[in-house]
Symmetry: C2
Subunit: 387 residues, 2 copies
DNA sequence: CTGTTAGCGCTTTCAA
DNA sequence: TTGAAAGCGCTAACAG
């Protein structure tokens, strides 16, 4: 291994000078600097980040944990985050939680043990992920992305799922589809809980009817299983509202295989707008999450993290619900704050204490495609309705 | 930050003893050990891997670079590799090359700078990736997975693409589809080149005809573009053979949208068998790569990496081509070896010099679904044909 | 502006 | 067996 010492000797200077030249921290005599750089080049020297990190007590490295690398929504999030962090010279260490809180906790610890400067987390489970994340928050800057775990004293950047689901239901009801079925993931994570709650509220608000919700997992398999039950049960709804696109794709496949006309007999909607949503026949009406904005906001908060004032995001400012809401009360109430976020009137919320967790919500957009019928007052096919 | 020193003081022993207890390296008095463990528990001490790694000169960490985290084939590979490494106590650091050799080189350096013990790479570009990988190979154990870069002195674990493509063409020709079109990625990476070559060979061998190959990228967009050209050109082939499933999904979508009957008028095949291949209408006939076996073999080689004898893989031993081939000659010839691998008779290859790169090929399987018509001698719909 | 020196937190000789 | 001490490669005080 070639060390800084080797470079120093070859350049005929002290290691301190080498360090200064390479880090650009201090002014160094031009000629010396050149000698150092030559020597570095010649030896192919690269600084050892273990040593550097140990000494500096920072590594310019941030960790990111996602529930499932195989879910296209998360891989899109990973890509967006990665690009942004690279741009500012940070390295991202990715960890796959394999949809398992234990594996997630493990991964988080592995990251912490490597002295990351910050952590971006999409918690697997609203409760089971809390312990590991709370501990993590005690050691590094932590920002929750997309989902929140209960009681974790860390900011959350996510979209306004209530608005997203409400837009879907409004769209369907506008098309006179008034008997709905909701197929989603069980209330294990915060998005599933929020979407389920939002669905119930939307049903109540619009006065349509809904079959008992079918809650499983955010997977194609669950979508297939639920749709099979729907078809076999013989009580087809006028529309199936799905908690995410994977479920919707599973539902769609089963319905089409069973010869059910989509959207004529049954409409189907998804959530996330993953790339594959345009590849099915019919294509999938869904809710698009502004991934780049989410990534930018999360990274911004992470890098901050002292200019903690919840700046208004560059986009999505004209949402019906305030796009930015200060979190309420104490850290332990964070989950409650998340839960209530959509319901709180921003004007009533005092500027929170400096370090209280903040929730930043972005507005999603309804993307109307072929899996919902044409017509109706809310949106035409092909429309992209910003909320 | 709580250090080993804190634990030592609380336990009333020296740091050396703490280190010994925690690493389990040496025998330590039972009572002292217990005191140490209590202290650790009480303080929530975790060993600092920066310091430990710096001292030990190993980190029990391996890096993995993939061309695109968003490609489901690669995320499946990442998952399989991650699970296997976790099982043996290694941590994986994932890096996304963003399909860009420069970003890839950057990512590789970032990993090397962090003193990883080994690197698993799926090179983006057969030539442009060589420099960074060759350099990496000089510092850490390197294993190439799925793809190889030219001249890199490192083992390769991949599938026998020649056999895979040949099976597809045989299948189609067996169904009397004798006018083919090949849509794939340009010969930037080794798999694209191998598949293109295999296609040409298969066409020649079976005596069917083929339109000029349409080579772009391994993306849905390219599949769409190529299919649009095909439809607009008016010269529809009897079957479109695609270089991977993403392309095939794009082709399928465009054909179906254009009202072309699939598979009646045009059959379509993919490659990889990503999960989404079963979600389209019709479902996609494709070639499945044995991901778990690939991951196991690659990880095995990485961990090895001294028991370097090319052990016969547990599965896929009955492939028509030998599943395991020793690499030939010098490291600089590695690319040639890869290229010729399928064509070399294993019996002729002497046991290679201890450290010559080795190519380990696994047999893929043809998965017959609805995008190719029924009948024919080779495979029935629903079949899974091991090669 | 440059060099010397003292660690960062840990593992591992080397003595005791 | 245990402890003292050296040192992994680097950066940051502190002198000069």
């Amino acid at each position: 291994m070639v060390t800084m010492r080797d470079v120093a000797e070859l350049a005929g200077v002290s290691v301190a000078t080498v360090s200064r030249v390479l880090s650009g921290a201090r002014q160094v005599n031009g000629e010396l600097a050149e000698r150092v750089r030559d020597a570095q080049e010649q030896l192919g020297y690269r600084t050892n980040l273990l040593a550097s990190g140990l000494r500096r007590q920072r590594t310019d490295t941030v960790g990111m944990v996602v529930p499932q690398v195989g879910n296209p929504y998360f891989s899109a999030l990973m890509e967006a985050v990665g690009r942004r962090l690279q741009r500012v010279g940070k390295t991202v260490l990715l960890v796959d939680a394999e949809d398992d809180p234990a594996a997630e906790a493990d991964g988080i610890h592995r990251l912490l043990d490597r002295s990351i400067d910050g952590l971006l987390a999409v918690p697997v489970d609203e409760r089971a992920s809390s312990a590991a994340l709370t501990e993590a928050a005690a050691h590094v800057h932590l920002v929750q992305l997309d989902r929140a775990a209960a009681g974790v004293p860390a900011d959350l950047v996510a979209v306004d799922h209530r608005a997203g689901i409400r837009a879907v239901v409004d769209h369907l009801v506008g098309l006179e589809r008034r008997e709905l079925a909701f197929v989603s993931a069980g209330p294990r994570d915060s998005t599933a809980r929020e979407r389920a709650k939002a669905f119930d509220e939307a049903v109540a608000a619009t006065g349509c009817t809904a079959q008992p919700s079918r809650l499983g997992a955010y997977t194609v398999e669950w979508g297939r299983a639920a749709a099979t039950a729907l078809v076999d049960g013989g009580r087809l709804p006028a529309a199936v509202v799905c908690g995410n696109d994977l479920i919707a794709l599973g539902v769609l496949a089963v319905l089409v295989e069973a010869g059910v006309q989509v959207p004529e007999r049954v409409a189907v909607t998804g959530y996330d707008d993953i790339g594959f949503a345009t590849l099915t026949r019919p294509t999938l009406t869904t809710v698009r999450q502004p991934i780049d904005e989410l990534a930018a906001a999360a990274v911004g908060r992470l890098l901050h993290a002292s200019s903690a004032e919840p700046a208004v995001p560059a986009v999505a400012t004209d949402a019906p619900d305030p796009a930015v809401l200060a979190g309420v009360a104490s850290p332990v109430d964070a989950a409650g704050a998340v839960d209530a976020a959509g319901a709180v009137d921003a004007a009533d919320v005092p500027v929170a204490a400096q370090d209280a967790p903040t929730v930043q919500r972005f507005a999603p957009a309804l993307i109307v495609r072929d899996s919902t019928p044409v017509g109706g007052p809310v949106a035409q096919r092909g429309d992209e309705v910003s909320l």
